[in-house]
């Protein structure tokens, strides 16, 4: 952990209130995010117990399963969930802008410019916690290979009509959430901890209630006290006042309230279904409120300058998924083949590097962390000496002398980068360090094409500049072979991509 973040935690612990670790909001926050609070059944894989869903704080939809081990009830739940989520997930498919992109022409092999559609916006899905994201992934996996009666009239346990489609959307959102800086699907705890440090540990921060208590304690109470209550306070019957944000429920709730209610339902006691519904809703409601409180807190932060650039990539990801659905492609396979896995990893590494650079450029507090680590420095210009490159067409290569109090880990010849006032980048290399804290840089780029540097691209004595040792828009690596060209070292071509079989369902699946 960076010493600056550690210090923020100490200050929070001492003051009793969370401290900022960011001065701008580093993630996209939709005007109308779709909030999903799911609950699952202990011990059963992918057996939902209930969910609270919606884009309107005042009007959530609540779905529950009275007997989670009953497959028919589970399917009915998923069918209702699909009807609630899909209209929103599909809502941005048709409003598009036209963009140009480079593509390799399959016949000539040349790079050509083609027109493509880009959805103007994309729906954002928010869940309470990181396990909530995993649960979305699990739900997606459990649904996307199901067959409906329409697709396969012979299937013994047909899924409700739109369930497989929801499975594919949730799978896409969950996979996208693994991309650094992406914002299609986010856990609220992750969003909040990116922007605030509490006076408790990172592990305890995974508890949404305590996290909010530290960031926005009720009047007259310290964050520490409020967090303690949020975590541990139980009512007279031993139930938590603030139930966990899920998807797992509190064992005391399962054993003392839920199990007897399920037993009454199984016994056919009148009103048991309604009782269960209210019981499960009572566990969801506090988290629902917490979600919107968190959204309000985040909305108060100004958006980081590069956030729209990254959101554009999310929109691209959304558009690609839309296109795959429209093209009738089969559901995402269970396991990535070698080429797909390598491509995903390469893309995520590039996004990670880009995210780290952009967050630092957007936020002086993040840049401070990089400066402390010796990966960036601010310096005052003390001297500028005009110089030119050798060769037929000399180009400007001015020498800039700087004085800094930072301690960048630099050696002669190392490259450094800065953002010019208009947003362009400038590269320079370290020529000498005549004495500690004094650096001589040679500017290498960003000065235009002319014989003399363009206006405002060469600093003047007295200017205060921020240089980074990392590139601002890291380049991607080379391409990888197509899956059908997978080499022998990686098992050879995976074979024709066909729709995978659904998970076999047998009568014994339900205990």
């Amino acid at each position: 952990m960076s010493l600056i973040s550690a210090l923020a935690r100490m200050e929070a612990a001492a003051s009793g209130r969370a401290e900022p670790v960011a001065t701008v909001r580093h993630r996209h926050l939709a005007e109308r995010p779709l909030v999903l609070v799911p609950l699952t059944t202990a011990g059963e894989t992918g057996a939902p117990l209930g969910a609270m869903v919606g884009t309107d704080r005042g009007a959530p939809q609540v779905f529950t399963v009275a007997q989670p081990r009953d497959r028919d009830l589970r399917f009915a739940f998923l069918g209702r969930l699909a009807e609630a989520l899909l209209p929103h997930l599909e809502s941005c498919q048709d409003e598009v802008e036209t963009i140009e992109r480079k593509e390799t022409d399959p016949e000539s092999g040349k790079r050509v410019t083609v027109e493509a559609e880009l959805c103007a916006d994309a729906p954002q899905l928010l869940v309470p916690t990181a396990p909530g994201v995993d649960f979305v992934r699990l739900l997606g996996r459990s649904m996307r290979f199901r067959r409906t009666a329409e697709e396969d009239p012979g299937t013994p346990y047909p899924a409700p009509p739109r369930v497989p489609l929801l499975g594919r959307w949730l799978t896409h959102y969950a996979e996208r959430s693994r991309v650094p800086g992406s914002s299609l699907l986010l856990p609220l705890t992750g969003l909040l901890t990116r922007h605030w440090a509490t006076g408790q540990s990172h592990l305890e921060d995974q508890h949404l209630g305590t996290l909010l208590a530290w960031i926005a304690p009720p009047d007259g109470e310290s964050g520490a006290e409020a967090a303690r209550r949020a975590e541990l306070e139980r009512d007279g019957t031993g139930q938590l006042v603030r139930p966990p944000a899920g998807p797992a429920t509190d064992p005391a709730f399962d054993n003392r309230l839920l199990a007897p209610a399920v037993a009454r339902y199984d016994a056919g006691v009148p009103g048991a279904a309604e009782e269960l519904r209210e019981l499960i809703a009572s566990q969801l409601r506090p988290t629902w409120e917490a979600m919107w409180q968190g959204v309000d807190l985040l909305r108060a932060l100004p958006e980081g300058a590069h956030v729209p650039d990254r959101w554009r990539r999310d929109r691209q990801s959304y558009t690609h998924h839309r296109d795959r659905l429209r093209a009738g492609e089969p559901p995402q396979p269970r396991r990535d083949d070698a080429v797909t896995a390598a491509r995903k990893l390469a893309m995520r590494e590039q996004r990670q590097a880009e995210l780290e650079a952009q967050e630092a450029l957007d936020d002086p507090l993040v840049m401070a962390v990089r400066r402390l680590a010796g990966e960036a420095f601010t310096a005052a210009v003390t001297d500028v000496e005009m110089a030119y490159s050798e060769g037929k067409r000399p180009t400007p290569r001015p020498l800039v002398t700087l004085r800094t109090e930072d301690t960048p880990l630099l050696a002669e010849g190392d490259k450094v980068h800065r953002q010019l006032p208009e947003g362009a980048q400038q590269r320079a290399e370290l020529v000498a360090e005549p004495e500690p804290g004094v650096l001589v840089l040679r500017l290498l780029s960003g000065m235009g094409r002319g014989k003399e540097p363009a206006q405002g691209t060469v600093p003047e004595p007295g200017d205060l500049l921020c240089w980074t040792l990392f590139e601002h828009s890291p380049r991607g690596g080379p391409g990888l072979p197509e899956p059908e060209e997978t080499p022998w070292t990686h098992g050879g071509p995976p074979g024709e991509q066909t729709a995978e079989d659904p998970d076999p369902l047998t009568p014994e699946d339900v205990l």
Binding site: A338, L345, A346, R351, Q352, P478, L480, E485, W488, T489
Partner: protein, 460 residues
Amino acid sequence: MTAAVPPFARPADVPADGNGGFAPGEAAARATEAILADTLHGAYKGVVVDSPPGAGKSTLVVRAARELAAAGHPLMVIAQTNAQVDDLVDRLASADPELPVGRLHSSEPKPYDPALDRHPSVRKSAKPADLAGLDIVVSTAAKWAWVKPEEPWRHAIVDEAYQMRSDALLAVAGLFERALFVGDPGQLDPFSQVGAEQWAGFSHDPSASAVDTLLSHNPELPQHRLPVSWRLPASAAPLVSDAFYPYTPFRSGTGHGDRRLAFTARPDGSPVDRVLDEAAGSGWGLLELPAARTPRTDPEAVSAVAQVVRRMLDREGVAHSERAEEPVALSAGRIAVGTAHRDQAAAVRAALAYMDVEGVTVDTANRLQGREFDVTVVLHPLSGRPDATEFHLETGRLCVLTSRHRHACVVVCRAGVPELLDDHPATEPVRLGATLKAPDGWEAHQAVLAHLAAHAVPSR
């Protein structure tokens, strides 16, 4: 513990001492012949060679490349860094000045070591087409990945294959039909900047090492190993072999009397001089600082490292070895300091500069990989730490740091590391099907510390 039955049987160990009855030259030659036979005449698409530190990996690569070329098989050579590529090209051209060698490089400024310019037979270019028809073309995996596969090479050699990531091999494997994969399984594993857990246990996990993926898909490939370290002295090979290569043991190519390190100036009685004499006599020295929790750039430890180097130079060390008739003066260029972190290396460099020491290599384990020195001074990765992390426990990091030397290794460390290791929570997640690094870093650290304890000199 006096268990009646050890939980698991271990493979036969190599005797820990001496070279009784062992002829290292012959053993190494036999291994090399078998490797070359498989490479030139074998029926397999791949041959894997495990090479412990200083076992002659580069010599093998140069020899295999020359023999393939001589047999009329042009080949591509893939290494991982530009420095490795330049080194290989230099060795190839020095071994056979007539051999047409291509150095494929990037289009960045200063893309290769200008020292290559002294070889007239070496052609350098950023364009593969310029190098067409040469017997051997050498480049980095990153550069090869940009080359379009048209007519694949019949042969390739992949150097440092254990430090190459599986996805990097995927990007270049279409360029060749068959390949010799050479590397050191004990050094630092490749890593990924982002989580790759979702593919853990896959045979083609893109973040795994190239050799892991290759062997998962082609388990029938012949696997060889070079059995002799010509770098590590008889005092170091058994420890490094036991601690880091328990299942593929190796031995030292030299015996206990073959190398000797001595200092001209007499010791001044200080702990630094005592640890230097201990290391000169036994091959190992541990300068133990009082237990304390410190930040990474522990000023006392950094200063101790610098003093060890300073005294080593002041006392005018002399190294006797099988490589030269005459003893060789232990000059600054023959000494290296190894650290875990870059800021530690920077702090040591500053301390050495303050003491007017020049020419000593100071770097992190990552950058010392593949290098060789007469004496190394190591700032122990766990010195002064409040806890051990995965980074600091990594087997490869300690292995690199303790296997760079030909004569002696001095470790500088705060007391209390064994307790720190004992208190380390063992709660590692386990991923089904993922290959496990053997040995585990925790065990390797315990083994090294237990050995060093016998060579410890308290600093106060």
